[in-house]
Amino acid sequence: GADPSARQLCFAWGPAEVLVCETRFGRAGGSRSRSRPLSRPGSRALTGSVAGTGEGDAGSSRVFVVRRDQDIYIQTLRKLFNESHGIFMGLQRSEEELAGRSRKAQLVQVSKNYRSVIRACMEDMHQAAVSARDPALHGQYSTQVSILSAMELIWNLCEILFVEAAAAGPLLLRLLDWVRLHVCDVDSMVREVLSSENPSKHKLFWNVVDVFVLQGRMDEARHLLSKEATANPTSMNMYKILDDLMKKMPVPSLGNTQTLTELELKWQHWHEECQRYLQDGTFASSPHMESICKILLGDEEAILEKKELLTTWYHFLVTRLLYSHPTVKPMELRFYAQSSMDLFLGGETSPEPLDMILMAAFEFEMHQVIKECSIVLSNWWFVAHLTDLLDHCKLLQSHNLYFGSNMREFLLLEYASGLFSHHSLWQLGVDYFDHCPEFGRVYLELHIERIPLNTEQKALKVLRICEQRQMHEQVRSVCKIMAMKALRNNRLGSALSWSIRAKDAAFATLISDRFLKDYCERGCFSDLDLIDNLGPSMLLSDRLTFLGKYREFHRLYGEKRFPEAARLLLTLMTAHIAPCSFWMTLLTDALPLLEQKEIIFSAEQTYELMRCLEDLTAGNRDKQKLQEDDVETTKVEMLRLALARNLARVIVKEGTVEGS
């Protein structure tokens, strides 16, 4: 692909894509690449398509099409975007005045809502994967499922550590829930054993018991063990002791029934009791039960033996904490986390990005978490929403980025910009921009003008959005686009109504000129119902007013209200509403009025008409006389004749009236 480190790149924005090509200039220094999408190779889907011819320098002959956001086009993720938009809006609008616990409970609920949306999406995606026939599609869906499940894993942990900020005690319980929810590789094995007729004879029986113990599911473990005990009466003694120990194990409780110190004391006693039994060799005859006892004692080696059942280092971490430090404080997590990961991975495998993100979370490095997630994930959805939530929890200090806005705003802007290239999700983007105080409006102004307006309803929605936010420039621009479209399709009436909405005088003038031209060519008006009913919007532009009034003249003429028609005609010329080019037509229209039996024009009016005619012909005399139409000269002569005759008649008439 294009190499930003070798050459400078130039780019051009398109409606949904960016075109990038290398220039001839080498990179000077380590300056920031101008085209941001390319500087994060892991997080953008860079579809390179070779276009353009090869000329000039070798290596500068390809144009790349950078598509902004592939994920938004995945059908099954639409629910994710739409639902999370609803949750986001709810969060922005929620009560800020609620302080303390109720606010925290509210934020935790929001977090849970986000997670349930992710899970719902995961379900859909899973269904799609299962029913997909095409293996490539199946693969794609399966990848998505694992990505979504990783996202939920991370979000859940962040909820426990940051949003809920669980304190020592409940912290462990939450972490246990977290592990139980997310380590599901063993589920099928568990199901198999439980549903078999004789579980205790199943070869995986002890594995399942171990799983329960490792996850702290004491009741279920005891239940299974009881089956073993009934089947194997010789181990009844051992079973009873083990069962008793497991029953008595002290765990943190969610309510305030005991303080940490009490718990620690109880736990200490219990731990010693287990120790005694182990050392007495009570479980010597059953290696399985012995290992369970060792696990109960928090023996790391014993726990590590069950690596395949743990499957992940964070499971190991939580189990370790459960059996050695149940009253762990949040701030102590980091040490245990680091050592757990080292012990579990044992130097054989290196940590994966997911592991690094979780580690950052355990270390309470929120910014690190967000940064790592941004790099790894291909879409801004996750980091934008998580950061917004954390910001509402007042956990992020304003971390000023290079462009002057804070991190939350930056991420939301990026996410929303990505939405705008989608034909229908752009509306969600509008709301996101609204909640970015510093740059949201500017971004919105730029983006909303570039939405392709394929239907009128879409244009109306865009207009409504712009008008609500007083973006007058954009209103005018959108209306102009729609009016031009209508004009190109010869829908003059539509074009006119768009320019009226935009209060765009210049365009209205243009359209009126078109109308008048059409009239001159065809001799009749199109779109009468529009022009007849212009109402007050007629005053938008002079030309439009003229059009309306001219049409009115025709109407009056049709209704044979000649004096009024005459007066209107004269006003049109004398008040200079009519454009000069049209005067000839107007005068020609006056001709039949002049020729009527009854006298319509008064002397004054006739003088005015003559003056207009003279003005007109005076102007024309300077132009090429040779070019003059025969028709034109005839017309002028006829007019002069008619005017003179009318004048004669009118003087006589007026003279007579005054006399008698």
Binding site: R78, K79, N82, H85, G86, M89, G90, S424, L425, Q427, L428, D431, E456, Q457, L460, K461, R464, R491, L492, G493, S494, L496, S497, I500, S526, D527, L528, D529, L530, N533, L534, G535, P536, S537
Partner: protein, 208 residues
């Protein structure tokens, strides 16, 4: 072709031989299919601003009663037998009203949906109790509106004019308004509507 000079926004049958259209300069037109002309047989419009009309529906039983919804969210009830002005103008939504529907079997009920994200249920049945009771379930809110009338006609609840006697009950059926409700339809006890959030909602117990 070329029936109207500005965009036609909605069309519906009035009778088997007549159709109604509304357009973007606020005109309601009746076209007679039996006649061969290319012009409407009647044009109605509001005086004043040419507010575009987006939707039209006629009363299922009384075919002279027509309801239209406009860009400013106003609901207009027309009696097309008389006059060229609407019978009542009801200030409803805050943004474009996209669709209006009379309930096919209970025509005293009208439904409108709008860009502002709300879906209103207008209940003009005459056995509404005298004392207004405010039903608050979650986000539902009821408002009583006595409509201002322009014309006098006594036949149907929609056209009646006595503000003190007739009160209309209006309910917003959507608790959390965010994005526009673009379309709706109603049949029996079922209401279905679709929003800009790419979701379709079905409400099966309208009159419960």
């Amino acid at each position: 072709d070329n029936a109207d000079s500005s965009t036609l926004h909605a069309v519906t049958f009035l009778r088997t031989t007549e159709i109604l259209t509304v357009n973007s300069i606020g005109q309601l037109k009746i076209w007679d299919l039996r006649q061969q002309r290319n012009e409407p047989s009647q044009i109605f419009s509001l005086a004043g601003d040419r507010v575009p009309l987006h939707c039209v529906d006629r009363h299922p039983n009384q075919q002279h009663i027509v309801a239209t919804g406009g860009q400013d969210g106003m609901l207009s009830i027309w009696d097309i037998r008389q006059g060229s002005m609407p019978v009542s103008l009801l200030n409803a939504h805050e943004a474009e009203m996209w669709e209006v529907h009379f309930h096919p079997s209970n025509p005293d009920h009208l439904f409108t949906c709008s860009e502002d994200g709300s879906l209103w249920h207008w209940d003009a049945s005459t056995n509404v109790s005298e004392k207004p009771s405010f039903l608050h379930q979650g986000g539902r809110s009821t408002a009583y509106l006595s409509h201002s009338t322009i014309n006098q006609s006594v036949v149907s609840a929609w056209l009646s004019n006595d503000p003190t006697k007739d009160r209309m009950e209006i309910t917003n059926l959507i608790p959390n308004q965010t994005l526009s409700v673009n379309s709706l339809d109603v049949l029996g006890p079922c209401l279905v509507y679709g929003t800009d959030a790419e979701a379709i909602y079905v409400n099966r117990q309208l009159f419960a």
